[in-house]
């Protein structure tokens, strides 16, 4: 069974940042020197979404996405925090309410709250237990399995990669 090594992961996220720099897309590489899996990438995006508990009016929300490497699962994780204009962070329940996609029964398995693999603080996280399953077909086929995986799971949490990223998977 093949899996993604930390080195593979680091190379993949560095590729993402390089493309992003050309596209001015905002991905930044962060590094925590003391850790084996210290590299992760971060991007912020503004969205306007309705928040149910506040009268369904649209709210400007800032999404901060992190892609980091989870050593115990041996897979990348996509985690994020969402906050309102005053800086208050949405709870996982508020986020679920604002996201009809997660209304189905397995929403708790799919999107949960976990500690960030590097920052060790709670983040909303796409649960990593199925990541390997999703990634496996990409490990051999794709030049950048992280991008391939991200383009599959990202849309669940409003993260859409432009096709410029997807292009590098096959080139």
């Amino acid at each position: 069974m093949t899996s993604l090594t930390i080195e593979d992961f680091n190379r993949c996220v560095e590729d993402i940042v390089n493309i992003s720099d050309k596209l001015m897309d905002g991905w930044k590489l962060q590094q925590n020197e003391g850790l084996e899996n210290g590299k992760y990438i971060v991007k912020k995006e503004q969205k306007v979404l309705p928040l149910e508990q506040e009268g369904s009016t649209n709210f400007l929300l800032i999404f901060e996405y992190h892609v980091a490497f989870n050593i115990s699962y041996g897979v990348p994780v996509l985690c994020f925090n969402v906050w309102k204009q005053d800086g208050s962070i949405l709870t996982i329940e508020q986020f679920w309410k604002a996201n009809k996609k997660f209304k189905d029964s397995n929403m708790h398995d799919t999107l949960t709250q976990m500690d960030h693999p590097v920052l060790r603080r709670p983040f909303l996280t796409l649960h990593p237990c199925r990541t390997h399953e999703i990634m496996e077909p990409f490990l051999e086929r794709s030049k950048n399995p992280v991008v391939s995986w991200l383009s599959v799971v990202g849309p669940f949490v409003h993260l859409n990669l432009t096709e410029e990223y997807v292009k590098i998977c096959s080139s």
């Binding site: 001015m24 400007l60 005053d86 800086g87 708790h108 949960t112």
Partner: protein, 684 residues
């Protein structure tokens, strides 16, 4: 058909890390200093498709000396005035404040600082008050601009209609090469028949004359999403241009409302707009009257409040994380578990030794928030390794166990409300002398009060005698009581019945092959044990004060005690939950499964475990009519005589045997037979 240019204000957006950093600086650096601090803001140069509002963000890097540049961000330069009190925040004169901010910008225009860094025209100000105890932040952003700048739109058309494709390309790449300090405002020169040039404002503004003005385009990065409007800070650009090009008053000039967008992998300025604008005349107060306070969420001119308690207060974060863990269990595995009921349950732990520590920690895991300890001893040097709430230092300090346990529990989880009472529980056979009379009475009252105030009572004491009084009171008060006792390598965890008989006759569903005992009719610790406590007739392996136990025994028994209590709480009938059991005479024909009555499965009466074989058995026993602690005889006497009865018992445990009519029974029966009978009840 000319009209005036309309403006939109950029919208402030505070990242949580900004408040965090502000609090840190307030505590460690600024302290009571209320001088203004320079900060950075930034906005994204490429319009996002998913959000039609441009925001200026501040975060923890806002306090850095240098702007943390990134190719997709442009800076705003500003100041924060963080007041020490809410009164200062309210009372400070907002009109004066923004005028003085405007004056500062005017000074930078006059002094020529803006030439070095045109992004100085993108200025902002924050007035704030940080209530650090409550994690409340009152704040008000302003984007100062001169009040009287009315600009007439004479002509507008798309960039592509003014410049050739090649020229747009030149403009694009020249823009990319500009320093980030010059990207917000720059000048394009295009003379007929000549190549398009991109200049910094510094290099050409002062050379422009009334004669060649038509060759120039004043470019500005437009922060407005609405193509019909420009960002309000554009007015600062006008103020700047008019300061150095006085001749432009009441005249027209070319402007490029610069807009970057992403087309495929290309970043292009194709969507920019070219304006011919008629600039205003400088009125007397042109540079002295400033506006720009931001409206709040109610669309009023007023401050905003960020309540960051959930986001920044570590104790709240811990509490939410603990709750979320439990909610995930509910959502994923046990949809019908009632977490709110558990959360509201008040637990009284009688005994803060090995069992008490283990029970308390497991209760925390279940989200219990109210835990009270009663114990009479202090932490000794041998305790910390086995009693998981204590440390070596507690033994050095000889802290009372009840207090040490309550304090340390709060260190583990600040969300818990834990209290310790140092107190000895009065015991049968422990005579009360004259001097101790008052204190004993007080102890009885206090214990009674505590049992009444709590929902679940855990009996985790290290002697048999001390369990008697709480057993009696809890039975009378109809409380859930969970009892745990330890032997060297064995343990007993059980729930007691209660005095209330109302429920006893309701027929519980009766799976074939099982016997059933209604919850209220279950035996107490003493039912199975016919002699009165305090009378060591026979050596026992369980529950001796000096018993040495295998270290894991208390952890196992403590955990089981909590799980048993939670199962009772979650059972439809609570303390009345029936206990099923099998005997050698009955052969079960079906497996007992989780029913609607109990989401967590079966609720046994008792669990006896033996580490020598790593086995559990689940015996169930009915109340004993002559029980010294829970029988009707005893309770009737207690209810009638109260303290008088108790004092008699404390002075002689023989009194219990009299009241429970055991004395008579002993006369009639061979003592050995009684013991045999009680042993059989424990077999499965």
């Amino acid at each position: 058909m000319s009209s005036n240019l309309s403006y939109v204000q950029i919208s402030s957006c505070v990242n949580p890390s900004f408040w965090n950093k502000l609090s840190e600086l307030k505590l460690d650096v600024y302290k009571l200093d209320v001088s203004q601090q320079r900060i950075w803001g930034y906005y994204t140069v490429i319009n996002s498709l998913s959000c039609p509002i441009t925001v200026m963000e501040v975060d923890s890097t806002s306090f850095n000396r240098e702007f943390s540049a990134h190719n997709h961000l442009l800076p705003f330069q500003g100041w924060i005035l963080n007041t020490n009190t809410i009164e200062q925040f309210k009372e400070c004169d907002k009109a004066e404040l923004i005028n003085s901010e405007g004056q500062k910008l005017y000074q930078k225009i006059k002094d020529g600082d803006v030439f070095e860094n045109t992004s100085l025209l993108n200025t902002f100000f924050v007035l704030s008050f940080a209530d650090l105890k409550r994690f409340h932040y009152y704040y008000w952003f302003a984007f100062p601009v001169p009040r009287h700048v009315v600009v007439e739109k004479v002509h507008e058309c798309d960039l592509e209609n003014v410049f050739s494709l090649e020229e747009v390309e030149t403009l694009n790449s020249a823009y990319m090469n500009l320093n980030h300090c010059q990207k917000a405002y720059f000048i394009v020169k295009k003379r007929f028949g000549k190549v398009l040039e991109v200049h910094t404002v510094a290099s050409v503004l002062k050379t422009i004359t009334s004669e060649d003005i038509d060759d120039y385009y004043f470019a500005f990065h437009n922060i407005s999403y609405d193509r019909c409007a420009v960002g309000s800070i554009f007015r600062n650009y006008i103020a700047f241009i008019l300061y150095y090009c006085d001749f432009l008053q009441n005249r027209t000039a070319n402007f490029i409302s610069f807009n970057l967008s992403r087309v495929g992998s290309q970043i292009t300025c194709k969507k920019s707009i070219v304006y011919k604008l008629k600039l205003p005349t400088k009125t007397k107060d042109f540079y002295t009257s400033w506006v720009g306070w931001e409206k709040n969420e109610r669309d009023k001119m007023g401050p905003k409040l960020a309540n960051m308690k959930n986001t920044l207060d570590p104790s709240v974060i811990a509490e939410n994380a603990v709750d979320l863990n439990l909610k995930l269990m509910k959502w994923n595995l046990l949809p019908s578990v009632d977490l709110e009921k558990i959360r509201k349950t008040k637990c009284l732990l009688l005994g803060a030794g090995t069992l008490g520590c283990s029970v308390a920690r497991t209760l925390l895991g279940w989200g219990i928030r109210e835990i009270t300890f009663v114990d009479n001893s202090t932490v000794s040097f041998s305790n910390p390794v086995r009693q998981s709430l204590f440390t070596y230092q507690d033994s050095v300090d000889m802290k009372p166990k009840s207090k040490a346990a309550a304090d340390n529990l709060k260190n583990i989880f600040p969300g818990v409300n834990s209290v310790g009472h140092q107190m000895t529980i009065p015991m049968p056979g422990h005579s009360v002398g004259e001097s101790m009379l008052e204190q004993t009475k007080q102890s009885v009252e206090k214990l009674t009060q505590l049992i009444k105030e709590h929902d679940v009572i855990f009996l985790l004491l290290d002697s048999r005698e001390s369990r008697w009084l709480p057993t009696l009171i809890a039975s009378v008060e109809n409380k859930i009581l969970i009892n745990a006792a330890l032997g060297f390598d064995s343990y007993l965890v059980m729930r007691h019945g209660i005095h209330n008989k109302n429920y006893a006759n309701e027929a519980a569903r009766h799976p074939e092959g099982y016997k059933v005992i209604p919850g209220n009719n279950l035996a107490c610790y003493f039912c199975c044990d016919v002699t009165a406590p305090g009378d060591s007739l026979k050596g026992r392996t369980l529950d001796q004060q000096c018993t040495v136990t295998r270290p894991g025994v208390s952890q196992i028994a403590g955990a089981l005690a909590v799980e048993l209590s939670i199962s009772v709480l979650q059972h439809k009938h609570g303390v009345f939950a029936p206990a099923y059991y099998t005997t050698s005479q009955t052969v079960p024909t079906q497996e007992l499964t989780v029913s609607d009555d109990s989401v967590l499965g079966l609720v046994p009466h008792s669990i006896r475990g033996f580490l020598s074989s790593f086995e559990h058995i689940l015996p169930a026993t009915e109340k004993y009519k002559n029980c010294v602690a829970c029988s009707d005889l005893i309770i009737k006497e207690y209810k009638e005589k109260q303290m008088e009865f108790l004092l008699n018992v404390f002075n002689s445990s023989k009194h219990l045997e009299d009241v429970a009519l055991l004395t008579e029974l002993f006369k009639e029966t061979d003592f050995g037979e009684v013991l045999e009978f009680s042993d059989e009840d424990f077999s499965t």
